[in-house]
Amino acid sequence: MRDEERKHSKEPVIEARQLTMAYGQRLVQRDLSFKVHKGEVKVIMGGSGCGKSTLLQHLIGMMAPVSGEIFFFGKPIPSDEVSLKNLRKRFGILYQSGALWSSLTLAENVALPLEEYTEFKKGEIAELVDFKLSLVGLSGLGHRYPSELSGGMKKRAGLARAMALDPEVLFFDEPSAGLDPLSSRRLDDLILSLREALQATIVVVTHELDSIFAIADSALFLDTGKKTATAEGDPRKLRDDANAPLAVRKFLRREADS
């Protein structure tokens, strides 16, 4: 059903056209063009320092590109505050460190977006918060402060907050960084079930190969040296495709230069 639907929805959810990013004089990546379709899990991969997280910052409208454009649902990212705010309401973002608000409890963290954007009363919000926390396996820990959680729990709590408003697009910044293999596997499964359940479009920035092969429908490889995307496609195919650039195959096979 999902594949069917994906074919029908021709208009991509996210589209980048000839995107060039830089910090001041220092070029990060240039000429990036790609599309993310509804329900797709797109992985942005590449070596450390290649500009993956910077690209994410651009996609969520926190940074403006030097040139090129980004479209959401067929429209360019708006520059005025109000429209940008309305667009961001449809996003959920999981930051690398979880970025939970340290002065709020876990439950308050998840509740804040709901208080901000819904008409729900306290009781209903508490119910929803409980539900979201139980989805990520943290039910009953709502009264804890972020400083009282382990790294993996913070990530999952961050995920519960990111999906508080049932977003259409979910962004993940290095979801498995710093997690043990089992926790990171569980997070991958969670990402896939979210896609299934919420029909969300998901963009993941990561360099964890296991995750890439487990979740990616399509991957975009950012090359550190060439400063542009050198490959895009199913990572499993890219790995075995003799036509794919050598750097990409080596990356996916975990081969170092001998």
Binding site: I60, M62, L84, K85, N86, R88, K89, F91, I93, Y95, Q96, S97, A99, L100, W101, S102, S103, L112, P113, E116, R161, T224, G225
Partner: protein, 381 residues
């Protein structure tokens, strides 16, 4: 050669048209000897011939570590780059050869060709642009703050009562002990200095005027301002700054929640409300300090002191001080929050933000106090 009897050494000899470096002994860090190493280095470099071949002999090496490899790698580099020598390393232990080839491998990222220095004019230009950018950012911040204040008054802001009460508690009651101590001592010191001078003129009673006027009009507000800048302003900058490092501010923005409404407004309002209360309290405590000196050091009685101070200090003086303290509160909270929000994403910039918040706040407190002095003088207040 005598080298062999010592801990480490090297011998140079020519053999079949090539240079042989024969190392011996223990080339390790604990045995490193700067003077001898320099001597060997000089000798080895001298033995290099243009386009020659260098054979490395290691049979006699009894121990080595990276200090030896560093020594060797530098020589190798000189030999290859300056003399186009070739090195024969067949004799090297396998581990040593592996490390050497690792060190010689082409770096992943090409070495950057020295930092390009901008011309003087360009630096001045960039600096000026940064100043103007900074001013624009600050105006943006103030503008947004006022808009958000308006939204708050209309009841349309993301406002968390709990945060406000917490800020109120931190900026108010928790600051009382330190304000008490410093205000009391300030009153005491001023009265003491004044009393000694005034006694010479037999005008002891004017200690009351001195303490009363200087504290209520000027010093209580300024002292409290300086204390709060160091205490609360710094805390604001550090708290918001570390929230930036931890991406918490980004998370707010991406949810469309204004960090100014959520983080800055409660703090600014709390401090503006608490500053006059703290200053009023500082007034009372510092006058008590003055009273203690007046009664203890001079012959003034408590009743005389009371009558004198009530006559000298008018309610206008007190109100001027309280008004100033409110302005100082705005300055402290704004510089703390602004520096925090502009903080970079590493630990060092949290430190810079905190420092700069305190320095900015104290500077502006003093500058504003001077301006107030002029304005009040012109207005005749």
């Amino acid at each position: 050669m005598s080298d062999r009897t010592q801990q480490f050494g090297v011998e140079v000899r020519e053999e079949e048209g090539r240079v042989v470096w024969s190392f011996s002994g223990e080339w390790t860090l604990p045995r490193a000897d700067n003077r001898r190493r320099a001597e060997y280095r000089k000798r080895l470099v001298q033995s290099l011939r243009e386009g020659g071949e260098v054979c490395l002999e290691m049979k006699e090496v009894r121990g080595w570590d990276t200090s030896f490899l560093g020594f060797l790698a530098a020589l190798w580099k000189t030999g290859v780059n300056e003399y186009s020598c070739t090195f024969v390393d067949e004799d090297m232990p396998a581990g040593m050869r592996k490390l050497m080839s690792l060190a010689r491998a082409v770096p992943e990222v090409p070495a950057e060709e020295g930092v390009q220095r901008d011309s003087f004019l360009r630096q001045v230009g960039l600096g000026t642009m940064r100043v103007f950018q900074g001013i624009r950012c600050y105006h943006d911040f103030i503008g947004t703050l006022f808009l958000d204040l308006g939204r708050l008054l209309l009841g349309r802001a993301s406002w968390r009562g709990k945060d406000f009460w917490l800020a109120l508690q931190q900026a108010g009651p928790q600051a009382v002990p330190i304000v008490t101590l410093l205000a009391f001592l300030t009153g005491l010191i001023i009265a003491f200095i004044g009393a000694i001078q005034l006694q010479k003129l037999a005008a002891d009673i004017f200690v009351a005027d001195l303490v009363g006027l200087s504290m209520t009009r000027e010093l209580a507000a300024v002292m409290t301002g300086v204390i709060m800048a160091g205490r609360t302003g710094a805390a604001y900058a550090a708290q918001i700054g570390s929230m930036r490092v931890n991406e918490e501010v980004d998370a707010l923005q991406s949810l469309g929640i204004s960090p100014i409404q959520f983080l800055v407004l409660p703090k600014v309002i709390a401090l503006v409300l608490m500053m006059p209360l703290l200053t009023a309290f500082a007034n009372v405590v510092s006058i008590l300090g003055g009273l203690l000196v007046a009664v203890g050091v001079t012959d003034v009685t408590m009743a005389q002191f009371h009558v004198q101070i009530v006559g000298a200090v008018s309610s206008v003086d007190v109100l001027v001080g309280l008004f100033k303290s409110m302005v100082f509160g705005v300055i402290i909270a704004l510089s703390g929050c602004y520096r925090g929000l502009r903080c970079g994403k590493d630990a060092a910039s949290v430190g810079r933000a905190t420092t700069s918040a305190v320095v900015t706040a104290i500077t502006w407190i003093v500058v504003c106090d001077a301006l107030f002095a002029v304005v009040f003088h012109i207005l005749g207040i």
